[in-house]
C-alpha cells in the first residue's frame, strides 16, 4: 500500500490505550491525514485532542465543520455529531439519529469516506463493545479500500474487531505493537 490518501481509525471501549501507544512512533512527516472516530461521552468536552497531542509532534485537532482535510494532521471527531466526508475532501458534521447507539458513528465516517477515497482509503477498527464500524468496513471493501482490525486477542474488548472479522473482508489483522509501523509504511 503506497498511495494512502486517508487513514481512519475507529474505536470504542478500550481503544484509547491503543491510540496512546501507537501515536508516539508515527512519522512526523506523515503523507496523509489520520481521522480518529471514537465513542466518548458527550459533555466532558474536547479533552481527547489535547490528550493525544501530548503523544505526537503531528498536529492534533478536533474537526470543525467544512474544514478541508489535510495531510500530516490528526483529526478527532467531535462528540455528539456524526463526521461525514464530502466529495471535495472536507468534513461536514451531522446531528442526525444515533447509529448503533452511537454519535459519532464510525459507520457514518467509514461509509462516506469509502466513496470519496475509494482505493486510497485505509480504515482500522480497534477494540470496542458494539458492532459500529462493521457496515462501514463492508462499504470500504466494496469501494476498493483497505480494511484492518486490531487483533481481537490483543483488544481489551474484542467484540468490535471480532464482529468485523465475521462480517467484512479484512486485509490486515494487527497487534498493537505492529500498528505504528503499519501506518508509517502506508505512504
Amino acid at each position: 500500500m503506497k498511495d494512502c490518501e486517508a487513514l481512519i481509525i475507529g474505536g470504542s471501549a478500550g481503544s484509547l490505550d491503543v491510540l496512546l501507544k501507537v501515536l508516539p512512533g508515527l512519522n512526523p512527516a506523515l503523507g496523509f491525514p489520520i481521522i480518529i472516530v471514537v465513542h466518548r461521552k458527550h459533555g466532558a468536552d474536547s479533552l481527547l485532542p489535547e490528550l493525544l497531542s501530548g503523544r505526537t509532534s503531528l498536529i492534533v485537532k478536533e474537526i470543525d465543520e467544512k474544514e478541508p482535510i489535510l495531510a500530516g494532521t490528526i483529526y478527532v471527531a467531535p462528540s455528539d455529531y456524526h463526521t461525514l466526508i464530502e466529495k471535495d475532501k472536507s468534513f461536514s458534521l451531522d446531528y442526525s439519529e444515533k447509529i448503533n447507539y452511537s454519535r459519532p458513528a464510525i459507520d457514518a465516517t467509514f461509509q462516506t469516506a469509502a466513496e470519496v477515497y475509494r482505493t486510497k482509503l485505509v480504515c482500522l477498527l480497534l477494540s470496542g463493545s458494539n458492532s459500529d464500524g462493521v457496515n462501514g468496513l463492508i462499504s470500504v471493501k466494496a469501494w476498493g479500500g483497505i480494511t484492518a482490525i486490531q487483533d481481537p486477542a490483543t483488544a481489551q474488548v474484542s467484540y468490535m474487531p471480532q464482529q468485523a472479522a465475521l462480517h467484512a473482508k479484512i486485509d490486515y489483522t494487527l497487534r498493537i505493537e505492529d500498528m505504528t509501523e503499519f501506518i508509517n509504511l502506508l505512504s
Binding site: D64, K87, S92, D94, Y95, S96, S139
Partner: protein, 275 residues
C-alpha cells in the same frame, strides 16, 4: 443501513434536488451533499424503494410522499436544554440583558419539533419575562411544526431533559411543567402562550421582523459555505443593534465578514451585534 455500494448516485441526487426546486419550490441545492445523500439513501432503503425511476416518480407526483420526503431528508433531531452550558448562559447573561427592554422578540430558526422553543419558554417564565416576550419558532417543514405546536414529547426523554434542565441552572421541579399522559409528557399551555410556530425557509424566504435574539443551532452545519453566508446575512438583517445571535456548538461566525460587527459572549457560541 447497509450501503455497500450506493444505490443512488451523486447525479441522481442532483436530479431529485432539481425536481424539488422545479415542482415544489424547495431549494436544497446549497445543502452539504454527504449528509443529504445519506438521508436520501436511508429513506430509499427504509421505504423499500426498488428503483430510482419509481422513487423519483412518486416524489414528483404523490404530494403525501413528497411531504414525507422533505421531512425525512432534513434532520429533525433535537432535545430540550441540549448543551446545558449554553442555556445557562442564556439564563444568566443574555436574557437578563434583554429583560431591560419593554418587549423581547426572539426568533428560533429551524425549531424542528419544538423542544428548544419550550426550553426557552421555561427560562423566560422563571425569569418572569415570558409575559413580555414573543418567540417566533420557524421551520421549513410543516409536519414538524404541527408536532411542535402540540407541546407533547416522549415521557422516556424526561429523565434526560430534567438532568439537562438542572445543569442549565433550573431550580424547580422539572415535572411541574408537564402532565404525564401515557407515553407522552404534555407541556403546560402557558409555556405555549408566547410561542408562534410558522413555516419559514431560510434558503428562500426573507427577513420578516427585527429581533433581539436569534437562535439557529445545528442548522448551518447542513449548508455549504455560500448558503451559510447568505443565511448569516439574513440573520444580520433581522437582528437589532446589541441583539444576540446564537449558533450550535460546532458552528461559528468567525469565517464570515460579518464577524467584525459582532462580539462573542465568552465560552459560548453566542455573538452580540455591536455595530
Amino acid at each position: 443501513m447497509s450501503q455497500e455500494l450506493s444505490v443512488i448516485t451523486d447525479e441522481q441526487v442532483e436530479i431529485l434536488l432539481a425536481d424539488l426546486l422545479e415542482h415544489y419550490g424547495y431549494d436544497f441545492t446549497g445543502y452539504s451533499k454527504a449528509s443529504i445523500k445519506r438521508r436520501i439513501l436511508r429513506l430509499y432503503s427504509l421505504d423499500k424503494q426498488v428503483s430510482f425511476a419509481e422513487f423519483r416518480y412518486t416524489i414528483n407526483n404523490d404530494t403525501t410522499y413528497f411531504k414525507r420526503f422533505v421531512e425525512q431528508i432534513t434532520v429533525n433531531v433535537t432535545e430540550m436544554f441540549r448543551d446545558p452550558g449554553f442555556f445557562k448562559t442564556l439564563r444568566d447573561v443574555v436574557l437578563p440583558k434583554l429583560g431591560t427592554y419593554p418587549f423581547i422578540r426572539i426568533w428560533l430558526a429551524g425549531c424542528s419539533t419544538g423542544e428548544e422553543a419550550y426550553s426557552i419558554s421555561i427560562i423566560l417564565k422563571e425569569l418572569n419575562l415570558l409575559h413580555k416576550s414573543l418567540i417566533y419558532a420557524t421551520d421549513l417543514n410543516p409536519v414538524v411544526l404541527e408536532k411542535a405546536a402540540q407541546g407533547m414529547f416522549a415521557m422516556s426523554q424526561m429523565k434526560q431533559y430534567s438532568e439537562n434542565y438542572i445543569l442549565s441552572g433550573g431550580a424547580k421541579d422539572f415535572s411541574s411543567y408537564y402532565t404525564a399522559n401515557y407515553s407522552l409528557a404534555k407541556f403546560s399551555d402557558d409555556l405555549k402562550s408566547r410561542l408562534i410556530f410558522s413555516t419559514h425557509n431560510l434558503v428562500s424566504d426573507h427577513s420578516f421582523n427585527e429581533f433581539q435574539l436569534i437562535l439557529c443551532r445545528n442548522v448551518l452545519i447542513y449548508f455549504d459555505r455560500d448558503l451559510q453566508h447568505k443565511v448569516l446575512n439574513l440573520f444580520d438583517e433581522s437582528l437589532e443593534g446589541l441583539g444576540y445571535l446564537a449558533l450550535g456548538s460546532k458552528e461559528t461566525l468567525d469565517f464570515s465578514p460579518l464577524s467584525k460587527n459582532y462580539k462573542r459572549v465568552p465560552a459560548e457560541k453566542i455573538w452580540r451585534k455591536v455595530s
